[in-house]
């Protein structure tokens, strides 16, 4: 009897753990290669005709004792991928192409809205919510860190956009 109860409690705990694991899996996934770790790569869902997209990575952490250098990105979903920085000078916003970016030992960089962003140019298909696509982060001498990017809803309140469908004119 007691054994049965213990067994059911165990199963419940296992289910709970599985739930926690899967939710954290969707929300924030980390990818590690040698001494670098990329956490939560995500892209904004785009509209149907969009030719550009954007990828953000919550953090890229260098756990090693030597500096690492990002020298580029690659993906099969777009013709061109570039790291850009949104810069505002004299009230005018510009995007600056960042050719390479150093991350010091023990340091992290954050690729987030309004600052650094990975721009996808010449999108081959629109980015749909809940889809995934591969993105490779290329490091000088170190090699390639392979990640999967989660496509999230446009608004980061996680609220579905209102749909205004015009079925007839």
């Amino acid at each position: 009897m007691i054994q049965n109860q213990l067994l059911s409690i165990n199963i419940l705990i296992l289910i709970a753990m599985a739930c926690v694991y899967t939710t954290s899996d969707i929300d924030a996934k980390s990818y590690t290669y040698k001494k670098v770790r990329a956490s939560n790569p995500w892209a904004r869902a785009t509209s149907k005709l969009a030719k550009t997209g954007v990828v953000y990575i919550t953090s890229i952490h260098n756990t090693g004792e030597r500096a690492v250098k990002i020298i580029g990105f690659s993906t099969n979903i777009a013709n061109k991928v570039q790291l850009h920085k949104t810069v505002t000078e004299n009230n005018i916003t510009k995007m600056q192409y960042i050719k390479s970016l150093k991350i010091g030992p023990g340091k992290s960089i954050h690729i987030k809205p309004g600052g650094l962003h990975i721009m996808l140019m010449g999108l081959k298909r629109p980015l749909k919510e809940n889809n995934q696509f591969p993105l490779i982060i290329k490091f000088e001498t170190l090699g390639n860190l392979e990640t999967m990017v989660n496509v999230k809803n446009f608004s980061w309140r996680q609220k579905k956009p209102l749909k205004h469908k015009h079925m007839h004119h």
Partner: protein
Amino acid sequence: MKKIIYSILAILVFCALSIGTFFISDHYAQRWQSNKLFKAKLYDVEGKTWSIKSLKDKLGIIYFGYTFCPDACPTALNNLTIALEKIDKNKLQFKPIFISVDPNRDKPEIIKDYLSSFNTIILGLTGTDRDLKSFTFNIGATYSLSREDPEDEDYLVNHTVGFFMINSEGVRLPIPYRNNSEDLGQAIVRIKSILMSNSNFKKFSSIF
């Protein structure tokens, strides 16, 4: 003694004249710019022409951008829609407007598709390069293409960041850029009160 009185009078007249000239020239500059704003022909995503007269009783909140812009523009428009949901639930006071300054690539159907991703209905406009140059200049904004190779179709556009509030008479004020919906909402409320309290300006402009 008389000399002193005359010189004081002369100084007073001079001051009055310069202050008057300042106000009148400033007023004319605004009027001139407003006329240019009325003349600039913009069109919406259905191809209908649009002018600031179309705003009627609403206050337009204009953002200049382009649909190829993946970071700054969606972030700004997203902040605007969140801010307006809070301060203008019934959508009676404000009209959010996105003006594409990249008419070469941003055809009406692309603008329509781009704006369909947002939580609220944003009026999408564009125009010829000439009309857009005139409209942006006279509202106090600017844009330029960042294109080294004329064949390059993946060029970027540098443009004014931030929003402009405008009424149907052409009275307008810039809304300082805020990268957060809460602060942006507060700024909009504040700018609106300044614009609405500026009734002297309206009376003044009706004289001419």
